[in-house]
């Protein structure tokens, strides 16, 4: 059931409906990479050989057998889904088990779930991607989508903020992206050891200097909720219509299919009506404390 008024492109993603939606599919861990002190990227190979097709911004319920499940955004390339890629931060509980998985381990996957970024809605205009911290992980598929269809878009701008240089995700890729002529990249950190040559400050600062044309901009924003609110307010102040600012919201999720009730934000079930939602839909909700 959709509750929004804006039109959405067909690449927002269709939730997979399995015979039993609570039964996971086995995926074998094929490769892993430690990204930062508390974050790991996993590459998973479907045991039954069926790649998990997904839209940028969707997530899966990733399971450690006998331990539990957590919702994790897919951080891979929607155009090359044969290996399922997830970037996971250790925040305790199930994630602590997942970040310690070894190559060869089998994990359970349910999904893909949720409404994605709808990158194609930015065609014919500019797209600005604003990521904070681990928020770059669910935005990476959107960036890859944008770069794969670069001729459909005008300016593509990435603004990425992290706590410190050591916390930057995908640094090699960031460097490669910064070299591209079809992508503008601005990275900033909260603080850095001396010797760091990059920007220190908030994401709103390079965003302000990007010279965006609000009439042709689609903004995709992901990061801590306070950061997303600040960035969203900033964009709206600059004239970007709220319906053209999309946030990826997060709440406690136990089922991923709209049945357990945990992820509700007033009338929205973030697992089926989100996690990507337009600011026009959600601005009145995220400004009420403890809603």
């Amino acid at each position: 059931m959709t509750l929004r008024g804006e039109t959405r492109s067909s690449d927002r993603g269709v939730a997979a409906v399995a015979p039993d939606p609570m039964l996971p599919r086995p995926f074998r861990l094929q490769g892993l990479r430690r990204d930062t002190e508390d974050t790991v990227t996993l590459w998973l190979d479907p045991v039954d050989g069926e790649p998990l097709a997904f839209a940028a911004g969707q997530f899966t319920m990733l399971q450690a057998f006998g331990v539990g499940e957590v919702p994790i955004s897919i951080s891979g390339d929607p155009g090359a889904p044969h290996l399922l890629q997830h970037t996971i931060r250790d925040v305790g509980g199930v994630t602590a088990t997942l970040v310690r998985a070894q190559v060869g381990d089998v994990l359970g996957v349910r999904g893909p779930y949720g409404v994605g970024w709808g990158v194609r809605d930015g065609a014919g205009g500019d797209v600005v991607v604003v990521a904070g911290g681990i928020g770059l992980a669910p935005l990476r598929p959107a960036l890859l989508d944008l770069l794969a269809g670069a001729d459909q878009y005008g300016r593509v701008v990435l603004v990425y903020g992290a706590r410190s240089p050591a916390d930057l995700l995908f640094p090699t890729e960031l460097e490669a992206w910064a070299d591209r002529s079809d992508l503008e990249v601005a990275v900033t950190v909260d603080s850095a050891p001396a010797g760091y040559r990059g920007r220190v400050g908030l994401v709103t600062e390079p965003l302000a200097r990007a010279g965006l044309d609000p009439d042709r901009t689609l903004a995709l924003v992901c990061g801590p909720e306070v950061m997303m609110r600040h960035v969203a307010e900033d964009l709206v102040r600059r004239g970007v219509p709220p319906a053209r600012v999309r946030l990826s919201l997060e709440r406690n999720m136990r089922c991923g299919v709209g049945l357990c009730g945990h992820c509700q934000l007033r009338e929205l079930f973030l697992c089926v009506d989100g996690p990507v939602v337009g600011l026009d839909r959600v601005a009145p909700l995220i400004t009420v404390r403890e809603l």
Partner: protein, 157 residues
């Protein structure tokens, strides 16, 4: 080639100042250049000038015993660096180091401050502008103080 007057008139920090004030500022301005890792000033130095960065980047650093030198802010192109020329005790609180080849306009704060003491209207005009720079820096610092990216570590889910 643009004159100093044209450059300063075009910069948002000086917008709205009357011609006499602009002339005064031009009279106090020089072009300066810094190589990477060259310091503009150090903690404790008398704050007798301020800068408008034209190209490059300046890192503002504090020394933390144990963690060493930390960059707490950077000043980018077209941003203004320094308010201690107008705000007592007129001493730099941070180290400022160029992290890439940087060219800037250096403005003689002592001279301008003297003029501000004599002419309250001029002083108010500069104080407004300096307050705005401080406001933006403060807000940026406050939000970063929340450590939004770093939070949320807990043992049990």
């Amino acid at each position: 080639m643009r004159t100093m007057k044209t450059l300063l008139e075009a910069h948002p920090f000086f917008a709205g100042l009357d011609d006499e004030a602009i002339q005064l500022v031009v009279g106090c301005a020089t072009n300066v250049h810094f190589d990477p890792d060259q310091y503009l000033f150090r903690v404790g130095d008398p704050a007798d000038r301020f800068y408008v960065v034209r190209h490059g980047r300046v890192a503002l650093e504090l020394h933390l015993p144990g963690s060493g030198q930390q960059v707490v802010d950077t000043v980018e192109e077209d941003q203004v660096l320094g308010w201690s020329w107008l705000v007592p005790p007129h001493q730099w609180f941070l180290d400022a180091r160029a992290v890439m080849p940087t060219s800037a306009i250096s403005l003689d704060g002592v001279c301008l401050r003297g003029k501000c003491d004599e002419d309250p209207a001029l002083g108010y005009a500069f104080m407004q502008r300096v307050a705005h720079v401080m406001y933006e820096r403060l807000q940026s610092s406050r939000v970063r103080l929340l450590d939004l990216y770093g939070g949320g570590r807990d043992a049990a889910r």
